[in-house]
């Protein structure tokens, strides 16, 4: 197998762009959040500083090999999702490594990071890590159900699991977007997206006031830096996934960024309005409205 | 009136005796009475056997002066049931004997002859 070095370069460039975009987006959203709370808020570039500071921590501790590997798994999961997803429709070089697999691969690759993180945090031996992970996994099981149904609905509609083809099928104006052609599946997926982002009201996993911050309680310094890096990449990647699935994909970077920013804003707004669910409230919630919507969506196809 | 032959009387009596015996065996609580009832049952049974083989006007298959030695098959009733009944009586007596032995031993173990007292093995 010959490696297409230019493509690799483009992919890395894309990764770099997405990382920066993710960090800025996070800062911007924090700032907007602050504005809603009538505060001024932190500078937009604050995530960069945090990142640099965390990487610059002088001392570190480790609980063992798996503790070490947790953030690695997590970041591989995040970067992997990015790598296996086509960014710009119609561009060979911006399609990343999407030739390796379709949307199923991406969906399952999300688990990779989660599991690694869960194991790493568990090796820390902190009870809150266990509690946070048990909540996170519990919630995740039900989040994925409507999402998967929605994805299947889209796949059936376009007769393909390939993201490229799904995007291709949505070209030609806003009325061709899946959110318009199959609104039920689209809404279900958007509701599930709330859970995937683990923003309020579904942030009981980290719940800073209750179980410090859940799984990453023991992580600091470089580990935390990796996790922050991952968050920037992963959240953007997930938004891009939603864009590709339901919002017609993107034919250039501007479109991509605008769309994914709008998508990303959805959980932020919801999170600002709604208080946190308990875990035994959020689990049934996902099995009610989103699930029913997605079932309707799948039979509408 | 033609039904009132000796054979039929024997048969009916025999069956009656059998039924009486069975009834006794099934209703009496005293073991000895049960044994007696079984003897009655046996007697009735034997009577039925004999009655079945009876042919009017013939005699028991015992060769003596009155019968002579010729044409025996026409003079005698069917000899086989007669022989059978002998065996049957012997067996009946044997069974009665064994039953009585058992009754004795049962009485020795529990000092009772009520059959309801011997229900240790059930279900």
């Amino acid at each position: 197998m010959s490696i297409d070095w230019i493509k690799l370069l483009f992919t890395l460039l894309g990764l770099f762009i997405v990382l920066n975009y993710g960090l800025l987006q996070y800062g911007l959203i924090r700032r907007i959040t602050a504005r809603i709370g009538k505060r001024i808020g932190m500078p937009v570039y604050q995530p960069y500083i945090d990142l640099v500071k965390n990487y610059a921590m002088r001392s570190q501790i480790t609980h063992g090999v798996m503790f070490y590997l947790g953030p690695v798994f997590r970041l591989v999961g995040g970067v992997g999702i990015f790598m296996f997803m086509p960014l710009i429709y119609g561009s060979y070089y911006w399609s990343n490594y999407s030739f390796a697999g379709d949307v199923i691969l991406i969906m399952y690759f999300m688990f990779f990071g989660m599991l690694g993180m869960a194991l790493g945090a568990s090796e820390g031996g902190h009870p809150y890590s266990f509690i946070g992970i048990s909540r996170g996994l519990s919630q995740f099981t039900t989040v994925e159900v409507p999402f998967t149904l929605a994805v299947i609905a889209v796949a059936v509609q376009h007769h393909s699991f390939s993201l490229t083809e799904i995007v291709a099928g949505q070209q030609g104006g806003i009325m061709h977007w899946n959110i318009m052609t199959n609104p039920f599946a689209g809404i279900a997926a958007m509701l599930a997206f709330l859970g995937m982002m683990m923003a309020s009201p579904f942030n009981v996993v980290q719940a800073p006031q209750e179980i410090p911050i859940g799984p990453p309680t023991e992580y600091h310094g470089t580990y935390l830096g990796l996790l922050q890096t991952n968050r920037a990449i992963l959240y953007v990647s997930e938004s891009i996934l939603m864009v590709n699935l339901f919002f017609g994909g993107a034919t250039n970077w501007v479109e991509l960024i605008v769309k994914s920013f709008c998508v990303f804003f959805w959980p932020v707004f919801v999170g600002l309005v709604f208080p946190r669910f308990r875990i035994d409230q959020s689990i049934p919630w996902f099995l009610k409205i989103p699930l029913i919507l997605s079932i309707i969506g799948i039979f509408m196809v | 009136m033609e039904y009132l032959t000796l054979q039929n009387i024997g048969l009916v009596t025999g069956f009656m005796l059998m039924l009486i015996g069975l009834y006794g065996a099934l209703t009496q609580k005293n073991i000895l009475r049960i044994i007696v009832a079984f003897t009655i049952f046996d007697a009735g049974l034997n009577l039925v056997i004999v009655a079945l083989s009876y042919i009017k006007g013939r005699v028991a298959p015992i060769i003596d002066q009155t019968t002579g030695v010729t044409n025996l098959s026409e003079k005698f009733v069917d000899p086989i049931p007669q022989a059978l009944v002998l065996t049957s009586i012997v067996i009946g007596v044997g069974v009665t004997g064994v039953m009585l032995t058992f009754a004795l031993r049962m009485f020795k173990t529990r000092h009772s002859l009520d059959i309801n007292d011997f229900k240790q093995t059930k279900w």
């Binding site: 009538k38 505060r39 808020g41 932190m42 500083i49 640099v52 921590m57 410090p212 911050i213 600091h220 | -």
Partner: protein
């Protein structure tokens, strides 16, 4: 009443348990459960430009450990409200000492709390700063003659910034942040290294008042 008591912590005494194969296993909790390494001094980066850059980052991104002692902790909450909005200065609250850089001792410290404060302080990672609020941490304040409240925080851990007042108002705390930032940027906020260098002194002071010292010397 004058005889010195010995304090026995049932959770930390040596004990013998029976292993899966019936063998006796002696567990010495302090030895077996806790890392007994001592803190090391971490030299700043030799390249000045890197160190300055990192110090700038540290100064602009101060993560505060949410640890409230005494009455001053009530003054911390307004910091996050729209009126004072400490986020503007890159100050954020963290719930876990592992991720925090700044520990705010917000008021008087009883001996019992001091033990916890020390533990949390030691669990923070190297560039770490301490800000002490109120007179009580400076010289005991109104509790100067209490049998149970310390007088001087800097005997027990290196303090970067004192904010005087009883209690200091949020504006004063914000000023304290600014002062701290200046110190960090100037490369003077080496509290963690100071602690490592003078570890024995600090430990001696701490142990003098914390009689039932039931933890390892350094809480990693």
């Amino acid at each position: 009443m004058e005889d010195k008591k010995t304090f026995i912590d049932p959770d930390l005494t040596k004990r013998t348990v029976i292993g899966p194969n019936g063998e006796d296993i002696t567990v010495d909790p302090i030895q077996d459960y806790f890392c007994d390494a001592l803190p090391k001094k971490h030299e700043p980066k030799r390249a000045k430009i890197f160190e300055n850059f990192f110090n700038w980052a540290r100064a602009e991104s101060i993560w505060v450990l949410g640890f409230g002692t005494g009455c001053g902790s009530i003054e911390l909450y307004p910091l996050l409200t729209p009126r004072f909005d400490a986020y503007r200065f890159g100050v954020q609250m963290r719930p876990t000492p592992r991720q925090a850089n700044l520990m705010i001792i917000s008021g008087y410290l009883s001996v019992k709390t001091l033990k916890r404060a020390i533990r949390s302080y030691e669990q923070m990672q190297n560039p770490k700063f301490v800000m002490a609020l109120g007179s009580c941490t400076i010289n005991g304040g109104m509790y100067f003659d209490s049998y149970n409240t310390i007088n001087r925080l800097d005997k027990y851990m290196p303090v970067d910034v004192y904010v005087a007042g009883c209690m200091p108002r949020p504006e004063a705390i914000l000023a304290g942040f600014e002062a701290l930032k200046k110190r960090i940027k100037a490369g003077k906020a080496e509290g963690a290294n100071l602690y490592a260098e003078n570890f024995e002194t600090y430990k001696a002071n701490q142990k003098k008042i914390i009689r039932d010292w039931n933890m390892p010397d350094y809480n990693w």
